[in-house]
């Protein structure tokens, strides 16, 4: 595997072996957790610690330790340290929630772009459909469409997660069916156009019947009621704080389910068919794979995630308007997938987390530091706000990745690596692939 390992790789391998791996990993996790809990004020230092803390998750994923230990560590970080830290500092939990939502979206888009090789530039359309679904039905906006109708109860939220999934799927099939026969680059432009159409409709469907409330957006969107259990578990906290942790846990749960689902799909007959189509569609069809149907399936699966996340997003934000769902959002999600590595599940997760952090933490932080400098009399012009330069960020990211690392930061290592390891460690009788798959899913 490592015939010509570079020095850093060699060092990494050295640490990533035997008991040393356990010790190093545990130490890292403990130190970053302790640092995080010791610095609860929002500052540049905390930013750095927070990123290092999250980096621990990547280390856990890569470390050579048994699956159970990985799971325990990850659970401790995500379910223990982070929520507790959140009770001290809401900003970072909000960041974690956003990251979880966008990682989930990146995983969904990864099914379309990475697994099936379909460049979808209008992915956010399905997200918008889910968000507007909950936004319209849970607010008095509904009365504008059907006079006399009253909003659905907030406790219906959970049902609407499923409805969002379903509506996303339906839209995916409706929009995908006419265009999936197109060649790759045409498909990209057409999906971009469809995404814009959805946004234009969101702006303009306040007439003749007011469905979306136009560019004003929909406000006061209902949130699911706070489960009483949480109040009991987290005594002494204000409702707002508990609520935030509640949303965080929910986003994490949805993310977890999504990860499981995409892993299983990838390692199935369907995942193989997608990969075959991506590799060589002529050979794939000659092997009996109905290409259009499989592409449609990928499109629908991706859209279904976006639909469900749209419902969650609307409930979390409590306000949606058309600019939330513009092309830049689609491109941002695409950048996550590409940064991590098309087709790679850990890649999409890393990419989603990185881009969200860059976008919501790093750029605003630079902006803040700059304005601090300005207050000290250093000439930074008023109009220069780095947080407003997302396009440049995403653009550079896309160009540089394509030129220097088209397979992404965490490329799809695929089962083959795991297969070989599994073979070496177990006897030839058992199924090495199935085993290592089970290990990698956990």
């Amino acid at each position: 595997m490592s015939k010509s390992a570079t020095l850093p790789q060699a060092i990494a391998t050295q640490f990533n072996r035997g008991p040393l791996a356990y010790a190093a990993l545990t130490l890292y996790v403990l130190v970053t957790s302790a640092l995080l809990l010791a610095n609860t004020r929002t500052s540049l230092l905390t930013d750095i610690i927070f990123v290092l803390f999250l980096f621990g998750l990547l280390l856990i994923y890569r470390a050579r330790v048994v699956g159970g230990y990985k799971l325990a560590l990850a659970a401790a970080l995500l379910l223990g340290v982070l929520p507790y830290f959140g009770t001290q500092n809401a900003f970072y939990v909000e960041l974690a929630i956003q990251a979880a939502i966008f990682v989930t979206l990146a995983l969904g888009l990864n099914v379309v772009v990475g697994f099936a090789g379909l460049l979808d530039l209008g992915y956010v359309a399905f997200f918008a459909v889910g968000a507007y679904l909950w936004g319209v039905l849970s607010t008095p906006q509904i009365a504008q469409i059907a006079p006399g109708a009253s909003p659905v109860s907030p406790s219906m939220f959970y049902l609407f997660l499923a409805v969002g999934l379903l509506v996303g799927t339906i839209f995916g099939i409706l929009l995908g069916f006419p265009v999936l026969r197109l060649r790759g680059d045409y498909l990209a432009i057409v999906t971009l156009g469809l995404g814009e159409v959805i946004r234009v409709l969101a702006v303009n469907l306040d007439r003749p019947v007011n469905i979306t409330n136009g560019s004003q957006g929909i406000k006061d969107i209902a949130r699911p009621p706070l489960p009483e259990v949480l109040r009991a578990i987290l005594p002494g906290l204000g409702d707002a704080q508990i609520y935030q942790i509640f949303i965080y846990l929910m986003a994490l749960l949805v993310l977890g389910v999504t990860v499981l689902v995409v892993y299983r799909l990838k390692n199935s007959r369907i995942g193989r068919a997608w990969e075959a189509i991506r590799e060589d569609d002529v050979a794939a069809v000659a092997m009996g794979i109905p290409i259009v149907r499989m592409k449609l399936l990928a499109f629908a699966v991706g859209a279904s995630f976006a639909g469900a996340m749209g419902v969650l997003f609307a409930a979390k934000q409590q306000f949606i308007n058309p600019p939330t769902f513009d092309l830049l959002r689609s491109i941002g999600i695409l950048a996550m997938v590409i940064l991590g590595g098309m087709g790679s599940i850990p890649g999409a997760m890393l990419g989603g987390a990185l881009v969200t952090l860059l976008d919501l933490q790093l750029l605003p932080r630079i902006a803040m530091e700059l304005s601090a400098l300005k207050r000290q009399g250093i000439g930074i012009p008023d109009w220069f706000d780095p947080a407003q330069y997302q396009r440049a960020l995403f653009g550079l990211l896309l160009i540089l990745m394509m030129i220097f690392r088209p397979a992404g930061v965490l490329p799809d290592e695929r089962r083959r690596e795991e297969l070989r390891e599994g073979e070496a460690e177990t006897s030839a009788e058992v199924e090495p692939a199935a085993q290592s798959r089970a290990a990698s899913t956990s």
Binding site: G117, L119, L121, P178, V179, R181, L182, G184, D185, Y186, A188, I189, V190, L192, G193, L194, E196, V197, V200, L201, V203, N204, R207, P208, L327, L328, I331, L334, I338, P381, W383, F384, Y389, R391, A392, F394, G395, L396, L397, L398, I399, L400, M401, M402, I403, P406
Partner: protein, 390 residues
């Protein structure tokens, strides 16, 4: 087979041949201009007649007829705008089979170059003294130079290293370039004091030309006017299209471009420097985009870093509509799309009593057309000049 398509170079071109190869395609474009104008006008009037009974406040037919000439002029301007931008898409596609997603931004940069040029002239006080035709020529040349060079540099930096990679790789890079350019121009515009919404300063073009008076009722007549800026746009666009046709169809360079488009390896065996020709294609396409940007700026008065996006997308639609890779096709596609948009934008509100805003739904119409064309006639109106390699 591919070799046979390259004309033998020994034959000396007669003037008649040159004229035929330049104006032949333009004749086709002209036919489409007239044809689509007539068809759309007739259909619109018919709809107006059918819907006449639904409105009591205005006479739909009369209202339709009164604005019709203005809609046609508007359509023509839009059409030439899309056509000039579409040429950049189609030429690059013809040679590389690659959608230069950043082409809309190259158009936008041209517009900003024109705005910067105007503001420099204005601050030195010579702008108002400049004769309009001279100003237009120089401003367009500035836009062409800036955009052309930009397109070539982009090709060199962001596309050439990716040649031979899977199709989607350069496309994603192009999307990146497009976003980066938007923000880069925004930054530069702010730095240089042009501002986000940059004023496009020009000499005074004078009052609109009154073409005729349309009598609405015995005591009222609506003047039919032609904006000088719109006229400038149309004339300049026509001149550029003639120039491009000459370049591509009647010069050695054009032959080389067409040869590379047909079969890159063979062209390179014939001693054509393929990289140079590709760069040249980007230069020409970019220059046309830049010229369109300047003309657009002259017409609308202000530009911002995002003005390239929608026209770019629509111009791509136009290129596909005409048959991507096909130069007369891009012109035809642009004109047809321009007319369609103008009609929807002007008449949709009128016909639906204001229930739908025409300007917004015109965009949807453009994408709808794109999807329909790609599904039912992917080779476009004029088919593909370059045959698909199997």
């Amino acid at each position: 087979m591919a070799v046979a398509a390259i004309p033998t170079p020994i034959v000396r071109r007669t003037l008649r041949m040159t004229l035929a190869s330049v104006f032949g395609p333009l004749g086709q474009v002209f036919l489409f201009v007239v044809g689509s104008a007539v068809v759309l006008s007739v259909v619109t009037v018919l709809i107006a007649v059918l819907l006449r009974g639904t409105r009591t406040d205005v006479d739909l037919v009369q209202a339709t007829l009164v604005i019709l000439p203005q809609v046609l002029i508007d359509g023509l301007v839009r059409g030439f705008l899309f056509a000039t931008i579409a040429l950049g898409y189609t030429m690059v596609y013809g040679v590389l089979e690659f959608i230069n997603f950043a082409h809309g931004e190259i158009f936008m940069v041209g517009a900003f170059a024109g705005a910067a040029f105007g503001s420099v002239l204005a601050s030195s006080g010579v702008l108002s003294a400049l004769p309009v035709p001279l100003y237009v020529v120089v401003a367009v040349l500035v836009g062409m130079a800036v955009s052309g060079l930009l397109a070539v540099s982009i090709e060199r930096v962001a596309y050439r290293p990716l040649r031979g990679a899977p199709r989607l790789v350069p496309l994603i890079s192009a999307i990146g370039v497009s976003l980066l350019l938007q923000d880069a121009v925004r930054l530069i515009a702010n730095l240089s004091g042009l501002g986000f919404n940059a004023r496009f300063q020009t000499p005074n073009f004078g009052p609109p030309i009154r073409l005729a008076e349309i009598p609405v009722s015995p005591d009222r007549a609506i003047p039919l006017i032609l904006d000088v800026r719109a006229l400038t746009f149309i004339i300049a666009a026509i001149l550029m299209l003639i120039g491009l046709n000459y370049l591509v169809n009647a010069t050695k360079l054009g032959t080389a471009i067409r040869a590379v488009a047909q079969d890159r390896p063979t062209a390179s065996l014939m001693g054509i420097n393929v990289n140079q020709i590709i760069a040249l294609t980007f230069l020409i396409g970019g220059a046309l985009g830049g010229a369109a940007g300047v003309l657009f700026g002259i017409r609308v008065g202000t530009v911002n870093p995002y003005v390239g996006f929608l026209p770019g997308l629509k111009a791509f639609t136009a290129a596909v509509l005409g048959g991507i890779g096909n130069i007369p096709g891009a012109m035809v596609g642009g004109i047809v799309l321009g007319f369609l948009e103008a009609f929807v934008a002007s008449y949709l509100s009128l016909m639906t009593a204001g229930a739908f805003s025409g300007a917004s739904y015109a965009d949807i119409v453009a994408f709808g057309i794109l999807i329909l064309i790609l599904i039912f006639k992917p080779s476009g109106l004029l088919g593909e000049a370059v045959s698909q390699k199997v």
